[in-house]
């Protein structure tokens, strides 16, 4: 018997089936967590908190899921909104503190990500949030333009534009770092 599809599992979860939801969490938690980590530039623990909130929110709203959207797309849409809220909160906090203290409070980057990746990570973090989301979804999750448009709730043309401008900016940032 073939394994149940994501959509079937999500519909079962909407009827209160926790086992079905557990299978979905197992299938998608890596993708959701990694997306969140790259999007918000958070440490593993903050990213996990956001990822947990995403799945909890998915469980709470499982009844409103309609199979026209892919489950991962739907989860990443919830994740994008959660990340945007997190970034807004962080910006507000930084603005309120306006001291060196908030720099100390920033999560430390794990040593594994400090070496070769740090330049890329900083360049991606320097992008505006929507460009960053588009770049992360395209380059690390291999999402199609249609899926990215669905996640970010914009048109396919806008996705093309975001990716172009994001790459242009990344290219300049990485060139500056090299030079």
């Amino acid at each position: 018997m073939p394994p149940p599809s994501d959509e079937d599992l999500m519909l079962s979860a909407g009827r209160g089936d926790r086992q079905a939801f557990a299978l979905l969490v197992d299938r998608h938690h890596r993708a959701v967590s990694q997306f969140i980590r790259r999007f918000v530039g958070a440490d593993r623990h903050s990213a996990e908190d956001i990822a947990q909130d995403v799945f909890l929110s998915a469980w709470r709203t499982a009844r409103s899921y309609r199979p026209r959207a892919k489950v991962l797309t739907w989860l990443l849409r919830i994740g994008t909104n959660a990340c945007l809220n997190h970034l807004r909160g962080r910006r507000l906090r930084d603005r309120l503190m306006e001291s060196d203290q908030h720099v100390e409070d920033q999560p430390a980057t794990p040593p594994s990500e400090l070496d070769a990746d740090s330049g890329v990570r900083q360049a991606v973090e320097a992008l505006p949030p929507t460009q960053r989301a588009a770049i992360v979804l395209r380059h690390y999750h291999d999402m199609s333009y249609v899926d990215i448009a669905d996640i970010l709730e914009i048109t396919v043309g806008a996705v093309e534009s975001l990716l172009f401008r994001g790459r242009e900016r990344l290219r300049k940032l990485l060139d500056r770092e090299k030079g």
Partner: protein, 157 residues
């Protein structure tokens, strides 16, 4: 083809989203424009650089922690509904006793201060009457009040 258009198409080509019919024109432009050819190369380098950024796997037991939180949510996913007014005003429930006590104290204080004020006013008025002074200013001759008093016969006295 203008350079801006060529660069947009290069970005789309990197994603495999460029229609085949645009490919010859784009390649023609790249052959003739060294700046756009350099742009194409640096786009590829950017894509390679992006691939270098790896992130760790989520902490082990993540799924269990999510499911523990889900278990705390009750049996079925809830449908969103607005909170009833009774719930929204729940914070007022302990208030009636406190409100009644506060009203009582306020009433006692007010009545005490009114009594004291009234006594002071009546003392002042009595003193004025004893002294033969008019307590109130007379109404101006042609004011509406004076005319009303006239009509009522009060002015004839």
């Amino acid at each position: 083809m203008r350079c801006v258009k060529a660069r947009r198409r290069l970005s789309a080509r990197a994603d495999g989203a460029l229609h085949e019919r645009h490919v010859p024109a784009l390649d023609g432009h790249l052959a003739a424009c060294p700046a756009c050819a350099a742009f194409a190369r640096s786009l590829e380098e950017t894509a390679v650089a992006l691939r270098r950024w790896s992130v760790d796997e989520p902490c082990c037991g993540f799924a269990d922690r999510v499911l523990a939180r889900v278990a705390g949510e009750g049996d079925r996913p809830r449908r969103w509904r607005p909170r009833p007014w009774r719930e929204r005003l729940a914070w007022l429930r302990p208030a009636p006793v406190g409100l009644a006590a506060a009203a009582f104290v306020l009433g006692v204080l007010l009545s005490a201060s009114m009594d004291a004020g009234g006594e002071r006013r009546s003392d002042a008025r009595s003193a004025a009457v004893v002294a033969g002074a008019d307590t109130f200013d007379p109404l101006p001759q042609d004011s509406a009040g004076a005319r009303l008093l006239e009509l009522l016969g009060d002015g004839q006295e």
